[in-house]
């Protein structure tokens, strides 16, 4: 099987490529070729026995989508996107990459299928940013999209396109709305959601981290490892049970910041917790207040998607996957 990952240079793309390289397969189906695409050529994952190709390409540029799809990959994982903050700051760029890029990909698949039968699996990563406040405490699978960012609007449009192209038989698509990824590896960043990861990741290695909101703030999380599991499952499972509704709210863990901190205390002790510095930031508090807190994710759970159920588990996953098994402290 030939798998293409568009947006393979990002955190999730790299982890997915590494997982496929390690498994040599997608849930038991052998992967012979891995095509990794990003605006800067991604690195090939270590230890892949098949053929890996890495290419720099901008999906939104003329002809690029057609050239990529000409290789007829059986599975296309479309992760490429401008993030929320940038899509809000640069309206044209957000629509060009997040909407036009996605539509050009789908159109290229349709054009390829018009030449000779072709119906690839397409996994599109959407986001809980398709929802906008006010919403119920727990969002069910039939709650409407009312995004409050251009990024959220672009993702919701991508979902509608994917569902229509799939219903029309041009592809076999699935759109998955990922929880916030926690603990995000790497450096602290300035994204409004950054602190959810920072307050765990930094103290685990003896560094200070800033908490800008109250401990009562509740949010929706899954580990990078769970997210890769979602992608693998979406790329390989039989999608017929989804019928014409190819968009899923994925499972996650609904937890308060206080619960995150208690888990940190249990896993890494009081010394780690003491490294969290409380610096209230009203701007971040206001942004975060507009974010979803909890989901039923009933359909996705029924279909076998699974995330962590405690923050202790999320922290242990980080220790295993990023810190070599034990916190250095």
């Amino acid at each position: 099987m030939q798998v293409m990952i568009i947006g393979a240079g990002g955190m999730l793309g790299r982890k997915l490529a590494a997982r496929i390289a390690a498994d040599g397969a997608l849930e038991g189906k052998p992967v012979e070729a891995l095509s990794l695409i990003d605006v800067v050529a991604p690195e090939a994952p270590a230890g892949f026995a098949g053929k890996a190709s890495c290419e720099a390409a901008d999906l939104s540029a003329p002809g690029v989508a057609a050239a990529l799809v000409a290789a007829r990959p059986e599975v296309i994982v479309h992760l490429a996107a401008i993030v929320s903050g940038e899509a809000e700051a640069d309206f044209d760029k957000g629509y060009r990459i997040n909407l036009d890029g996605t539509r050009l990909l789908f159109e290229a698949i349709r054009a390829e299928a018009a030449k000779a039968p072709y119906r690839p699996r397409v996994v599109f990563t959407s986001s809980i940013a398709v929802f906008g406040a006010p919403f119920p405490e727990v969002i069910d699978d039939e709650f409407f999209c009312a995004p409050l960012t251009s990024y959220g609007a672009q993702k919701a449009i991508g979902e509608l396109l994917l569902n229509d192209y799939t219903r029309r038989g041009f592809m076999d698509g699935i759109a998955i709305r990922l929880p916030t990824i926690c603990i995000r590896p790497g450096k602290p960043n300035a994204a409004a959601s950054g602190f959810f990861s920072n307050i765990l990741r930094e103290p685990l290695v003896g560094q200070e981290a800033v908490l800008p909101v109250e401990e009562s703030v509740r949010h929706w999380h899954a580990s990078p490892r769970a997210a890769v599991g979602f992608l693998v499952r979406a790329a390989s499972m039989d999608l017929a049970p989804l019928g014409n509704r190819r968009t899923l709210n994925l499972p996650g863990l609904s937890a308060t910041v206080g619960e995150q901190i208690e888990a940190l205390r249990r896993v890494a002790g009081e010394r780690a917790v003491k490294l969290i510095r409380r610096v209230p930031d009203p701007t971040i508090a206001r942004i975060v207040a507009g974010w979803p807190e909890n989901f039923t994710a009933t359909r996705a759970k029924t279909l076998g998607f699974a995330a962590e159920t405690t923050f202790d588990e999320i922290i242990r996953v980080h220790i295993e996957d990023e810190l070599g098994g034990s916190p250095p402290g």
Copy 2:
């Protein structure tokens, strides 16, 4: 005030232009200029005291949207669309007219606003086709879009764009999801929904009509006069109370075919009812089974949108507006 109607040649566009011409205003605000656009130049409405201009233009063609918006109309009513059946039969045309045409209009408005302050009222007619079965018996204002036609997907995408462009301050938009229009004037047509009108309109003038479904079939209706009232209200009301949620399910009348027929009996007698010929059509029955039956339309009602509450009323509106006040029979 300058009002532009795009798609002014259709049934609703003509009726809206006639209403504005008769009133010389939009809910009390004087209209000095009326610009009517369609792919074939529409006719100017009779009796308009202001300046009417009628123009043939295809919104999806390069440069057309910019040229239209250059006149800076304060109100733009965007009715232009390829209907459901055609959008399903011609994938490219549906996306070109219904999605690209709408997006080009919104982009032209944004570009015009970048030259000098401009924030027109934009009324976008969406449809209950944004919903796809299965759904609850009564659809509330927060039920999700899962369209089962490309037309429905294109309308749902138009709504998302309108909401985002409005949130970003580029326009003052409202998207209204119209009920099925009944009694639709004119000739019987082959649309799957045609019979809802045919079984009343034809018998009222002594003609036979075919009923292809069971009398138990329930659907969601409003008269053409109510629809024009929706457009006038959407074009003129203060939209601030809608906040960032600029899409409305509009009120209508939920009625079974049996209830339609009973109303016909009360208004036009047994002789009219006897002109309805039952010719079951499994294809139409299957299509109609996937359509919504009822809505709460709570937000729209709170905002002053109103439709008929009995089918007797819908029939009387047709008699007054299309048959000169009394059924010829």
